[in-house]
C-alpha cells in the first residue's frame, strides 16, 4: 500500500489533479476515519452518562496522568514535522533520528495508556463493568490501536530510510505517515477534551 505504483497509460504521467495518487488516497482514507471516530465519540457521549453502576468519570479519570500523556503525543507530532523538514533539506541523519523519536514518543504514549488502563481496571472499570467502562475502553482502545498502527507504519518508513529509499526528491512515504500521525494526534486532542476536560 505504501509504494503502490501509478498505472497511468504512457503519455499521461501526470495525474488529473496534480496530486500523487497515494497522497490523495491517504486524505480520502482519513476522511473516512473521521466518521469512524465521530461515531465512537458520539457513542461515548450518549453512553457514558447513563451508567447505572460502577465508578463515574469524575471519580476515576486522572487528568494529570493523561495530561502528561497528551503532551507526549503532541510532542510526537512536533518530531514528525521535524522529520519531514529534515528530509526536505536532504538531511538523512536527522530524518532517522526524528522518526525514531516519534516512534518512541508514540510508545511512551501507549505505555501511559497501559498504566491508565491498569489503574482504572483496579477501580473496577472494564468493558463489561458498566456503560461508562464499555464506551470509554472502546473509544480510547481504538485510538490506542491507531497509534500502534502508526508506530508500525513509522517502522516501515524507517526501514526504508535506512536502506536509502527516502531521499530529498522522493520522500512521499514520510509525508503520508506524517498525515496519518497528525490525524491520530488531532483525534486524541478531541478525545482528551470530550472525555477528560468536559466529561469530568
Amino acid at each position: 500500500m505504501l509504494n503502490e505504483s501509478m498505472t497511468a497509460p504512457t503519455g499521461a504521467h501526470e495525474t488529473s489533479l496534480n496530486i500523487d495518487n497515494r497522497k490523495l488516497g491517504t486524505w480520502v482514507f482519513l476522511a473516512s476515519e473521521a466518521v469512524f471516530f465521530s461515531s465512537l465519540i458520539v457513542t461515548y457521549i450518549v453512553m457514558s452518562g447513563r451508567a447505572v453502576s460502577g465508578p463515574t468519570p469524575q471519580e476515576v479519570l486522572s487528568i494529570p496522568l493523561v495530561g502528561i500523556n497528551t503532551f507526549v503525543l503532541i510532542s510526537s507530532s512536533v518530531t514528525m514535522v521535524m522529520a519531514l523538514a529534515a528530509i526536505e533539506r536532504g538531511d538523512q541523519r536527522r530524518l532517522r533520528r526524528f522518526l525514531i523519536a516519534t516512534a518512541l514518543l508514540g510508545l511512551l504514549f501507549l505505555s501511559g495508556q497501559a498504566v491508565e488502563f491498569t489503574l482504572l481496571y483496579q477501580h473496577g472499570l472494564s468493558l463489561h463493568s458498566d456503560l461508562f467502562g464499555a464506551s470509554f475502553f472502546t473509544l480510547t482502545g481504538f485510538h490506542g490501536a491507531h497509534v500502534s498502527v502508526g508506530i508500525l507504519w513509522i517502522g516501515f518508513v524507517l526501514a526504508r530510510a535506512f536502506s536509502g529509499g527516502v531521499t530529498k526528491e522522493n520522500h512521499l512515504a514520510v509525508e503520508l505517515v506524517g498525515l496519518y500521525w497528525h490525524f491520530v494526534d488531532v483525534v486524541w486532542i478531541i478525545i482528551f477534551t470530550v472525555v477528560y476536560l468536559i466529561g469530568t
Binding site: 500500500m1 505504501l2 509504494n3 503502490e4 505504483s5 501509478m6 498505472t7 497511468a8 497509460p9 504512457t10 503519455g11 499521461a12 495525474t15 488529473s16 489533479l17 496530486i19 495518487n21 490523495l24 488516497g25 480520502v28 482514507f29 476522511a31 473516512s32 476515519e33 466518521v35 469512524f36 465521530s38 461515531s39 465512537l40 457513542t43 450518549v46 453512553m47 447513563r50 451508567a51 447505572v52 453502576s53 468493558l127 463489561h128 458498566d130 456503560l131 467502562g133 464499555a134 464506551s135 472502546t138 481504538f142 516501515f156
Partner: protein, 604 residues
C-alpha cells in the same frame, strides 16, 4: 468505415487470458477483479434467491411447517444480508471495476493491489458469514439487527457474532474500494477529460464511493459495539443496564439509508449509459443527471430517521426527516425526466439492455411512489413492519437495482467476453422477470395494508392472507425461472454467442474504443477526448491512436498474492474473535501482517 477500423479488435495481440486458475488468485487487473466480483456476487444472488424461495414456500399456505421457526429466522436474516452486502453492492462494484477505468481512458485503478484486497475481503467476509450455517446456526435477528434481538439472551448461537464480524470485513473491503474509486476517478482521467466531460456511469460511481466512505464507518462502529456486547458483555444495547437500543438504530440507519443510495446510484449510472445508446441519441440533460446525483448523495445523509418514525422521536424530528425524505423525490424525478426525455426524441432500439432499462424506470417509479407514502409519518405508523414495506423495498431494490444490473449485464457482456448474449433468450428472460416480479411484490402492498406483519413465521387460516401469499409464491418461482433463463443464456452465449466487435452497440464512451475483451493494459496510448461523447462526434484519430499504437505488447501483467494473504489473515482472526480463541487471533493477525510486509516489500 473509420468507425469500424477504430474498434477492430484483432489487430492487437492479446497477451492475457492465460488459462490458469492460479492467475485469478493473484491478479490485480481491474477487469479480472471486476469479473471476479460479478461472478462471486452472482453466486451469492442465487443463494439469496434460494433463501427467498424457502421464505415463499413457508408462507405459501397458512400454518405451514416447511422449515422450523428457528431456521426461518436465519433464512430471512441471511436473505436480506446476502442480497444487500453480498450481491447488490459487490456486483455494482464489479461493474465499476471493469468499466470505470475503461471509461476514464486509464490502464487500471489507482491502486491495483488494494483493489484485489477489497475483493478478497468481500469474498472471505461472505464465506465467513455463510460458514455460520454449519457452525451452530446462522444470524437470526434480521438484516438490520435490532437490539435486544441481537443480545445473547435472544440469539444464543454464534450467528450474530459471525454477522457483526462478517459485515465488518466486507465493510472494510468496501471502504478500501471506495478510496480506490475516488482517487481513480478524480485523478486518472485521460487527457482532456474534465469532470464535466466524464461519462455518467463513472460520475454516479464517484458519488457512490463518497457515500460509502462516509456511511460505512457508522456500520463498522455499530458492528464493533455489538460484537463487544456479545463477546465481552459490554452493555451498549442492554436497556436494563442503561444501554441504548436506539443508538444502534441511529448508527445503523446513518449507514443504512445512504446504503440505499449506494445501491441505486450505480444503477442510475447504468441506466444513464444504456438509455441514450439505445435511443440512438445523446443523453438529455447530462449536467442535470450529475447535479441531481450529487444532491441525492448529499440528502441521503439527512433522512436516516425515517426508518425510525415508530420509535417515538420528537414530532419536530419526525417532521424534519419526513420533509427531507420527500425532497429526495425531486432530484430522483429529475433523472427520470432525463431518461424519458432522451427516449422521447430518440429512435428506440429495443434490445435486451433497453428492455431492462425501461423495466427499471417503470418499476423503480412505483417503488418511488410508495416511498413517498412511507415518508409521510402517519402512513408510516400504520404500515411499518408490514408487507407494505417489503413491497416498497423490493420495488426499489429489485425493480430498481436488479433490473439495472441485468441491463448492465446485457449491455457490457459483449465488452467483457467478445460475444453477445442471445437477444431471443434475453427477451424471454425479461418478460418472465417482469411477470414474476410484479406477481410476487405487487400484492404485498395490499397484504401490508391488510395488516400482515413482515417476518412472521406463519399465519392463521382465517386471516384471508392466504390467497395473496400463494400468488406471491408462484410469482417468486417465475422469478427463479427468469434467473435460470439468464444462466442458460450465459452458458449458451459464452460458447456460441454472436461475436461482438469493440463497439457492438455504437456506444458513446471510451470503453467501446477498445477491443472486446480489451487487452490487459486497455489503452496503448492515453486517448485524448474533446467531448462528453468521444465516440459519437469527434475525429476518432486520437482514440484510434490509443488503440493501434505499436510496441505495447511487452507491458507486463502485474500480479500479487499478498492481497489474498491479508484478507485470509483477517478471516482467520475473525474465527478467533468469534470463539475467543487467542491463538487463532494471533495467527490471523500474523498472517495479515505478513501480507502487509509482502505488499510493502514486493518489487514493483
Amino acid at each position: 468505415m473509420q468507425r469500424n477500423m477504430l474498434v477492430d479488435a484483432q489487430a492487437l495481440p492479446l497477451q492475457r487470458y492465460q488459462t490458469s486458475v492460479l492467475r485469478w488468485l493473484v491478479t490485480t487487473n481491474h477487469k479480472d477483479i471486476g469479473l471476479l466480483y460479478i461472478s462471486a456476487s452472482f453466486l451469492f444472488f442465487i443463494v439469496g434467491g434460494v433463501e427467498a424461495l424457502v421464505i415463499r414456500l413457508q408462507l405459501a399456505e397458512p400454518n405451514s411447517r416447511v422449515v422450523s421457526p428457528e431456521v426461518y429466522n436465519q433464512i430471512f436474516t441471511m436473505h436480506g444480508t446476502t442480497m444487500i452486502f453480498l450481491f447488490a453492492m459487490p456486483i455494482l462494484v464489479g461493474f465499476a471495476n471493469y468499466i470505470v477505468p475503461l471509461q476514464l481512458g486509464a490502464r487500471d485503478m489507482a491502486f491495483p493491489r488494494l483493489n484485489a484486497m477489497s475483493f478478497w475481503l468481500f469474498l472471505f467476509g461472505g464465506l465467513v458469514l455463510y460458514s455460520s450455517f454449519v457452525l451452530g446456526g446462522a444470524p437470526d435477528a434480521g438484516w438490520f439487527a435490532y437490539a435486544p434481538l441481537t443480545g445473547t439472551d435472544y440469539s444464543p448461537t454464534h450467528g450474530m457474532d459471525f454477522w457483526a464480524l462478517g459485515i465488518l470485513m466486507t465493510g472494510v473491503g468496501s471502504t478500501l474500494g471506495a478510496i480506490n474509486f475516488v482517487v481513480t476517478i478524480l485523478n486518472m482521467r485521460t487527457r482532456g477529460m474534465s469532470m464535466l466531460k466524464m461519462p455518467l456511469f463513472s460520475w454516479q460511481i464517484l458519488v457512490t464511493a463518497i457515500l460509502i466512505l462516509f456511511a460505512m464507518p457508522a456500520l463498522t462502529v455499530d458492528a464493533i459495539l455489538l460484537y463487544f456486547e456479545r463477546a465481552f458483555r459490554a452493555p451498549f444495547f442492554l436497556a436494563q443496564q442503561g444501554g441504548q437500543p436506539i443508538l444502534w438504530q441511529h448508527l445503523f440507519w446513518f449507514f443504512g439509508h445512504p446504503e440505499v443510495y449506494i445501491l441505486i446510484l450505480p444503477a442510475f449510472g447504468i441506466i444513464s449509459e444504456v438509455v441514450p445508446v439505445f435511443s440512438r441519441r445523446r443523453i438529455f440533460g447530462y449536467a442535470a443527471i450529475i447535479y441531481s446525483g450529487i444532491a441525492i448523495g448529499f440528502l441521503g445523509f439527512t433522512v436516516w430517521a425515517h426508518h425510525m418514525f415508530v420509535v417515538g422521536l420528537s414530532p419536530i424530528a419526525d417532521a424534519i426527516f419526513s420533509l427531507d425524505s420527500m425532497i429526495i423525490a425531486v432530484p430522483t424525478s429529475i433523472k427520470i425526466f432525463n431518461w424519458v426525455a432522451t427516449m422521447w426524441g430518440g429512435r428506440l432500439n429495443l434490445k435486451t439492455p433497453m428492455l431492462f432499462a425501461i423495466g427499471f424506470i417503470s418499476m423503480f417509479m412505483i417503488g418511488g411512489f410508495s416511498g413517498i407514502t412511507l415518508a409521510t409519518v402517519p402512513v408510516d405508523w400504520q404500515v411499518t413492519d408490514t408487507y407494505y414495506v417489503v413491497a416498497h423495498l423490493h420495488y426499489v431494490l429489485f425493480g430498481g437495482t436488479v433490473f439495472a444490473i441485468f441491463a448492465g449485464l446485457y449491455y457490457w457482456f459483449p465488452k467483457m467476453t467478445g460475444r453477445f448474449l442471445s437477444e431471443k433468450i434475453g427477451a424471454l428472460q425479461f418478460w418472465f422477470m417482469v411477470l414474476g416480479f410484479n406477481l410476487t411484490f405487487l400484492p404485498m402492498h395490499i397484504q401490508g395494508l391488510m395488516g400482515m406483519p413482515r417476518r412472521i413465521y406463519t399465519y392463521a387460516a382465517n386471516t384471508s392472507w392466504g390467497d395473496l401469499n400463494f400468488l406471491e409464491t408462484i410469482g417468486s418461482f417465475i422469478i427463479a425461472i427468469a434467473v435460470g433463463i439468464f444462466l442458460w443464456n450465459v452458458a449458451v452465449s459464452m460458447r456460441r454467442g454472436r461475436p461482438a466487435d469493440g463497439d457492438p452497440w455504437h456506444g458513446h464512451t471510451l470503453e467501446w474504443a477498445v477491443s472486446s475483451p480489451p487487452p490487459g493494459y486497455n489503452f496503448a496510448v492515453a486517448p485524448i477526448v474533446h467531448s462528453r461523447w468521444p465516440l459519437l462526434e469527434e475525429n476518432p484519430d486520437s482514440v484510434a491512436e490509443a488503440h493501434f499504437a505499436t510496441g505495447v505488447t511487452d507491458i507486463p501483467e502485474e500480479t500479487s498474492v499478498f492481497p489474498l494473504v491479508v484478507a485470509f489473515g483477517l478471516g482467520v482472526a475473525v474465527y478467533g474473535l468469534v470463539y475467543l480463541y487467542p491463538v487463532l487471533i494471533l495467527l490471523g493477525v500474523a498472517i495479515l501482517f505478513a501480507g502487509i510486509v509482502g505488499l510493502v516489500y514486493e518489487p514493483r
